[in-house]
Structures are given as structure tokens and as C-alpha cells.
């Protein structure tokens, strides 16, 4: 195992396109070569060493390389872009599109992540100690293709539209989630331990959403199917009981929305429809 450390020399003012920073791109290069790599700072191309101190050692085996970033990366966009193997650790906050199109490896954020975390990813794991912005594991505008695989774990809260258009993979949010998690979802699993702002599973076609906390209401385009004692998320069995809703009927969806019974007394009135469901 080798570790490369990139420390921000000074506070970023204009944003940088940091998509070159990942074990995939830095493996097999000397520190000197890495320092000479170019990236965009606003509309200027600058050398990496103008923005970072580079220390440590790279190595040829991508999967054994740890790249550690130190500083406030809130204005760094696209870190870990298309990453395949290895480990990327950020000791600080990160900006937009962290882990975009990731294929494998591990990204750890010891701070908060910006919006579009793991956008269009197909493999690998992203772990965030803090919170994340909007569009976790979502897709590009008009593309109708979100996350296709891999795993995102957020210890804090996240914004709106987590898992929009996702077709596979797992998103776990331990804090609260913003509105519209699982928007247009086609598959995969979203697990929300905290509260959800609302409109869970809007226009979903398939997939599974599990909410342990409070969900103010369920969309009128969902059916209540039954009350389940537990639900599986990945291989873990999570105790309920859960209301199981299916929908979104407007999209002829067969997605499953599991909502904790105990945290949602305001949803109790849905039980009276259980008899009328054939």
C-alpha cells in the first residue's frame, strides 16, 4: 500500500475541475509527474502543484494506492471521476460531482459532500461522514440514467432527489433526507434512517425505498399493500413493522416503499384501505 497526500496550498476562490484526481489517474506516476499534471482552475489551465503540495508515494497497482486530500475542497468538482480502483480520502468538505461515473474502489469523505455525489456511478463505495447535497446517485439531465451499481453511505443528511433515475445499487442515508428520494427510480435500494421531507418514490417504476423515520405523507398515486414485520436492506434484516406501499401507479410502477409504522402515526388512516386492496 502506498499513500499520496495532496494538500491544498491555499483557499480555492474559483472552482477547479478536479476530475484528474483519483487513484486511477495517479497510479504509476512519480510525484514529479503528478505535480506536472494540468487541471482547470476556472478558465485557466494550471499545473497541479500550483494548487496542491504533493507528498508521499504513488505506485503501479492502482488498487493499492491511497490518495488523501487535505483541505476544503468545496470548490473542487468531479473528484474521483470514473475511478476504477484504489482509495480516495478527503479530509474536509468536497464539492460537486464527487465520484461521478465511479466504477470501483473506495471514496471516503471526512466532511460534507456537495450535490451529485456518485452521479451515474456503476460500482465502488462512497462513504461520507457528514451530509451530502442534492441528487445523490442521480443521473444527468435528460439522460434518465442514474446510479447503476455500487454503494453510497451518508452518515449525515442529504438533499433532494437522492437516487433519481437509479436502476441498481444501494444508497444509505443515516440522517434526514430531502424531498423526492427515488424520483423516477427504476431499481436498486434507498435506505433512510432519519426523516424524509416527503414525496418518496415519486414516479418510480421499480426499486425499494425504506424509511425508518417520519414521512409526512404518501403520494395519492401509491397503493397500500400490507404491513410487514421486517424488510431486508442488502443482507441485513431490519425490524419494522413497516407499511408497504407500491407505486407509482401513474407510471405503472411496481416499486416498493416501506415506511416505519411506529414513526408515522399520521399514516395510520391508510390501514383502512388494507381491506379494500385485493
Amino acid at each position: 500500500m502506498s499513500e499520496l497526500t495532496l494538500t491544498l496550498k491555499k483557499e480555492l476562490i474559483v472552482p477547479i475541475d478536479a476530475s484528474i484526481i483519483s487513484p486511477t489517474n495517479l497510479a504509476g506516476k512519480t510525484v514529479g509527474e503528478i505535480e506536472n499534471l494540468e487541471l482547470w482552475r476556472g478558465n485557466r489551465k494550471v499545473k497541479l502543484n500550483e494548487v496542491f503540495h504533493v507528498e508521499g508515494k504513488s505506485e503501479d497497482e492502482e488498487e493499492n494506492l491511497i490518495v488523501r486530500l487535505i483541505g476544503d475542497f468545496s470548490k473542487a468538482r468531479g473528484l474521483g471521476f470514473k475511478m476504477k480502483k484504489g482509495t480516495l480520502i478527503i479530509d474536509g468538505n468536497t464539492g460537486l460531482r464527487l465520484g461521478e461515473k465511479m466504477k470501483g474502489g473506495l471514496i471516503k469523505v471526512n466532511g460534507n459532500a456537495g450535490s451529485w455525489l456518485g452521479s451515474e456511478m456503476s460500482g465502488g463505495t462512497i462513504e461520507v461522514e457528514g451530509g451530502a447535497g442534492d441528487f445523490v446517485g442521480a443521473g444527468y439531465r435528460g439522460g434518465k440514467e442514474g446510479m447503476r451499481g455500487g454503494k453510497i453511505v451518508i452518515k449525515g443528511k442529504c438533499g433532494a432527489e437522492a437516487g433519481a433515475w437509479m436502476s441498481n445499487g444501494v444508497i444509505k442515508i443515516y440522517g434526514d433526507s430531502g424531498i423526492f428520494p427515488g424520483m423516477h427510480m427504476k431499481g436498486g435500494t434507498i435506505f433512510i434512517k432519519g426523516n424524509c421531507e416527503g414525496r418518496a418514490g415519486a414516479e418510480m417504476k421499480d426499486g425499494k425505498i425504506v424509511i425508518l423515520g417520519h414521512l409526512p405523507s404518501v403520494l395519492p398515486s401509491f397503493d397500500i399493500e400490507e404491513i410487514r414485520a421486517s424488510v431486508k436492506v442488502e443482507e441485513e434484516k431490519i425490524s419494522g413493522p413497516f407499511y408497504l406501499f407500491t407505486g407509482d401507479i401513474n407510471e405503472e410502477g411496481i416499486g416498493k416503499l416501506y415506511v416505519s409504522v411506529d414513526s408515522n402515526s399520521q399514516l395510520k388512516f391508510w390501514e383502512k384501505f388494507l381491506e379494500s386492496v385485493i
Binding site: Y140, R141, G142, G143, K144
Partner: protein, 565 residues
């Protein structure tokens, strides 16, 4: 202006009967001349083919629905972008490229003239704004008239000459080039969410039929002496069995051929060349259509070839586009235009493994190969409906090489392969014939006297392709053919070198061609008096604001055309 001498190329100039002759082409002040001085810049075209610049008769590159297509598909653009250079603006491509990119990409392929084939008159100002921003190529646009309320009412009242005066006025008002008809009567029925399924079905409220509309506009085209025949996208596009409608439509104006000239251009016939009764037994109607065309002189077509790729369909055939949405459940744009026409846009992917798509792919090629006279055939993909225009080199290769076709035939859906005649067709287009269907015939059909050929006096719009004619064995060398046509060695526009080996080296503005149709003052006056009140009842704009001044076009080429009335 500078002089250029293109030396030792193999020249293909069908309009002047030159078939691969090794000769020099001289250019001076933007025109082709007999000879030039010793000061001329010399281009050594040894071992290369020299042709007139490509003339694309039908490609959706500018206007309201094209732009809606751009907005609809940001995901199409991210895949394919162009970084700015010292000479070129940046842009995006793939199936609905931005305007600068459109001009550059055509120029790189050796094309120098392109016509936008479907513009709603009310929104044609938009089309001209986009054409102005499409660099290098000369262009023009065809206003949509086949569902126009005024025309249908003139038709019902039998006022032929007054209607001719109206069409003349409209072409001038919006600076259009030819009469375009899309799903005659059908797009108006779609204004109520309905459709029309045969030539003699009456349009709701207007009570005229598609057959009557087509004949009427054909007569008006004759009266106005317009340079291009009526350009028509027939009824029932995309429906199994529709080849019958296509033949009926061609036949409907057979007697209206003026002085033996072509009386009808049917566009993207592939989409209207379906035999069979359902998607399950869809077959090619190309043999029947080719048979008809081989026996008649009043028809010409462009093929609308399908490319196996992701693309964006966009036409003024609102109801057809809705059906395509229902079949594909893709995103769908619809944009009806008051008193005139409509539009629809649906992204689409043609797959080799899909039976229907494979048959479609076969139909386009069969049309080109079964129609004997290449002067009746124009090569198009109905960009972007069949596929992006950047795939033209593939189509050229398929037409020139049976082997190139076989490579694809062996990969397409097996049932389709069995069903098509294509595998058994040996014909291969010669370079001369390719020059006909991509430049000579199209220029002739459009009445562009100074384009599509290399005779003295012609515009110096020239493409030089890196293909050694002497050594070329097109049947075998289809990969070379594709490569050569993808990236002209030189593209010359108006006597200026604009592209070299796939790089744009100059970006002059092209001209917008439009027809200034002249009718007598008397009939014009009567027509306008009668038009004024109705105009403002039907439209939501004033007549004065509907009219586009010539200066608006920036660089325009006015073609004066005297009518018979």
C-alpha cells in the same frame, strides 16, 4: 479575389458528363473559370477525386422544432462536443448539433449547400436566425403549406389563381424556397387530436382531401414556375402497408407534369416504403415503389436512409410523432402552429437486432439500388430522423460496395435478412452515380444553376476526396471510401479553402437562398385585400409583423421567378 488551380484530379461532374476524367479545375473570384494565371495557388489533386460540393436537399438543421430537439436532449450533447479553435466556435453535436457545429461538420464532409426542408411560415424568422448562425454552407428553407388554412379554403372555393398569388406572397413574405407538404390534411386533423388515413378522406371542417391538396399545390407550383417541384412527406408515414399511399400520391399528380418535368419530389421514402400489414410482418415496399418510379418520369425521391444509432426524430407530422411516442414511450415534444402546421419530436434508437428497424434499413438501400436512373434518387438520412448526417459516408459505402452491405446484413435481425431482397442485389453505385445522388441531381432538382457542377460560371463549391480513382476497387475498398468521404482532403466554398483534412481553416458566411416569386400586380392586390381580414382572424399576429425583410437574412441570394399569372 484569389485564383486557385486544382491539378490532376479525377473529376466527376455528371451535369457536364465528366466521368472520372483527369483534368484541372480553375477558380477565380469565387467562380469556376476556363483558366487562371501563373499566380494561382495550386492544389495538387493527384490520386484524388474532385466533385462539386455536396448539395443536401433535405436535412433538419434550423428552426423551431430543431431547437426544441436541442433543448429536449442535453444528454445527447454531452457525448459529443467541439472545443473552440482560432477559426471555429465551440458547440455540441451528435443528433441535433448546434448551428456552428452543423456548418463545420457539413463542410468537413465536402458539403457546401444544405436545405432545411420544413419551416412553419409563422416561425420562419426563427429558421432564418439559425441559418444566419450556420457558417460556411449556402442554405435555404421550405415553408410548410400542406395544412395551411388559407390554402384549404381557396381550394374549397376553387380560387386557383388567387391561391397562387397567396402562395407567391407567402414565399416572399417568409423568404422561402419551395412548397413543402407534410401529411397533407393530416396535421390539421391532428389539431383536434385526429388523423387522416387515406388520400380521399376529408379534413375535418375544411372538407378537402389530401389528394385535392396535393394536386392543388402541384398546379400552383406550375403556375408560379417555382424552381423545385412540390416536396412532399406523404400521408400514413410509418404505417405498415403505406407504400400504397406513396404510389397513390405519386400517381395523383402524374397528369400535372409540366413540359415533361418532374411534378413531385417525395421525401424520405424509406419511412413511406413499408409493405406488410403489421409490425410483425413488416416488409419492404421498395420493389413496388421502384417499379413505379422506373416506369415514370414525373417523380423523384430522396431515400431517408436509416442508420443503426441513437438519434432524434423530428417532423411536422404531429400525429405520426405521437404514434412513435406510444410505441417507444420515449420523451415527446409536440408543437402545433396556428393556421399552418404542427411538429413532433421523439428520441429514437435504431437497432440491428430489431426486426422493424432492420427492414427499415433495408428499404432505404433497396430504393436506391432498384431505381435504375440515379437522377431520380437523392441520398439523405432525413437528418436526424434516419440518423445524423455525419453518417453519410457509411451510406455512400453501402451503395458502392455489396461487401460493405453484407457486413451489416450479417449482423441484422435474421428474420429481416430473410425477408429483404437486399442481400440478393448485386448493383454497386459508381463514383459518378454517387456524385449524381449527392450533388448533381439535388442541385438540378432545386434549380440551382450554379451549383452541383464544375462547368465554367458555376460557383466554386468543390470537394476533393482522397480516393485514388485509378487504383480504387470500390467493392473491396469500402473502408477507404468511408474514410475519404468523412473528411474531404479539401473543401472549397466560393473559391476559398474552408476545410483541409477534417480541419476547418476558414469560416465565411454562406448565403440564404430564397425565391422572389412575381405575380401580376392586379391579382396580388385582389388577393391581399381579401386576405387581410381573415389573416388577423386566424392568426395572433399582424400581417406586417409576419413579413420578413430581405435585409434580415444578412447574406441572401434572391432568385427571381416569374409566374404565369
Amino acid at each position: 479575389m484569389s485564383e486557385i488551380l486544382i491539378k490532376n484530379g479525377f473529376v466527376f461532374d455528371p451535369l457536364n458528363n465528366i466521368n472520372g476524367e483527369k483534368m484541372d479545375i480553375a477558380i477565380k473570384s469565387g467562380k469556376i473559370v476556363e483558366k487562371v494565371s501563373s499566380k494561382a495557388k495550386v492544389i495538387d489533386a493527384s490520386h484524388m477525386i474532385v466533385m462539386p460540393g455536396g448539395v443536401d436537399i433535405h436535412s433538419h438543421i434550423a428552426g423551431s422544432k430543431v431547437n426544441s430537439g436541442r433543448v429536449l436532449r442535453p444528454e445527447d450533447h454531452v457525448k459529443d462536443y467541439e472545443v473552440k479553435t482560432k477559426v471555429t466556435r465551440s458547440g455540441v453535436g451528435y443528433s441535433v448539433p448546434s448551428t456552428f457545429t452543423t456548418g463545420y461538420r457539413y463542410a468537413k464532409m465536402g458539403y457546401t449547400t444544405v436545405f432545411e426542408p420544413a419551416t412553419p411560415p409563422l416561425k420562419t424568422r426563427h429558421t432564418h436566425e439559425e441559418l444566419r448562425d450556420t457558417p460556411i454552407i449556402d442554405k435555404g428553407c421550405f415553408p410548410l403549406l400542406g395544412n395551411n388554412w388559407f390554402i384549404m379554403e381557396y381550394l374549397k372555393e376553387g380560387k386557383l389563381e388567387e391561391c397562387a398569388a397567396y402562395v407567391s406572397w407567402l414565399l416572399n413574405a417568409v423568404k422561402g424556397y419551395a412548397i413543402k407538404i407534410v401529411n397533407p390534411g393530416g396535421t390539421e386533423a391532428w389539431g383536434w387530436g385526429k388523423g387522416i388515413s387515406h388520400l380521399d378522406e376529408e379534413v375535418p371542417y375544411f372538407n378537402v382531401t389530401p389528394r385535392e391538396i396535393v394536386r392543388w399545390l402541384c398546379k400552383i407550383n406550375n403556375i408560379l414556375n417555382l424552381p423545385h417541384p412540390i416536396h412532399i412527406h406523404t400521408n400514413n408515414l410509418g404505417k405498415p402497408g403505406n407504400y400504397v399511399t406513396t404510389i397513390e400520391t405519386m400517381d395523383a399528380v402524374k397528369d400535372l407534369s409540366k413540359n415533361g418535368k418532374v411534378s413531385i419530389h417525395i421525401t424520405h421514402v424509406q419511412f413511406n416504403g413499408f409493405a406488410g400489414t403489421s409490425w410483425l410482418n413488416l416488409a419492404s415496399g421498395a420493389p413496388e415503389i421502384a417499379n413505379y418510379i422506373n416506369k415514370n418520369t414525373h417523380v423523384e425521391i430522396d431515400i431517408g436512409q436509416v442508420i443503426f444509432s441513437d438519434t432524434t426524430t423530428m417532423t411536422a407530422d404531429g400525429p405520426f410523432q405521437y404514434i412513435l411516442y406510444l410505441l417507444s414511450r420515449e420523451k415527446w415534444v409536440n408543437a402545433d402552429v396556428e393556421a399552418e402546421t404542427g411538429a413532433g419530436i421523439v428520441p429514437f434508437r435504431y437497432k440491428k437486432s430489431n426486426y422493424v428497424n432492420a427492414i427499415q434499413w433495408g428499404i432505404g438501400l433497396e430504393l436506391a439500388l432498384l431505381i435504375k436512373d440515379p437522377w431520380k434518387v437523392h441520398m439523405t438520412t432525413d437528418h436526424p430522423n434516419g440518423g445524423p448526417f455525419t453518417h453519410y459516408p457509411k451510406v455512400i459505402a453501402w451503395l458502392m460496395s455489396k461487401k460493405a452491405r453484407e457486413r451489416i446484413i450479417n449482423k441484422i435481425n435474421k428474420n429481416a435478412k430473410r425477408r429483404l431482397d437486399l442481400p440478393g442485389i448485386d448493383r454497386e453505385y459508381t463514383p459518378y452515380e454517387i456524385a449524381i445522388i449527392t450533388r448533381a441531381a439535388t442541385a438540378k432538382s432545386l434549380g440551382l444553376k450554379n451549383k452541383g457542377h464544375l462547368g465554367t460560371g458555376a460557383d466554386a463549391d468543390i470537394a476533393i476526396y482522397d480516393l485514388d480513382y485509378e487504383k480504387l476497387n470500390p467493392s473491396e475498398d469500402y473502408k477507404l471510401i468511408k474514410k475519404a468521404f468523412k473528411q474531404a482532403a479539401y473543401t472549397i466554398k466560393n473559391g476559398e479553402i474552408v476545410a483541409k483534412n477534417g480541419e476547418i481553416v476558414a469560416s465565411p458566411k454562406g448565403k440564404i437562398y430564397w425565391v422572389n416569386s412575381k405575380v401580376s400586380d392586379d391579382i396580388q392586390k385582389v388577393m391581399l385585400e381579401n386576405l387581410k381580414t381573415k389573416f388577423e382572424e386566424y392568426y395572433t399576429v399582424k400581417m406586417e409583423n409576419y413579413i420578413i425583410n430581405e435585409s434580415y437574412l444578412h447574406d441572401s441570394f434572391m432568385l427571381n421567378v416569374q409566374s404565369e399569372v
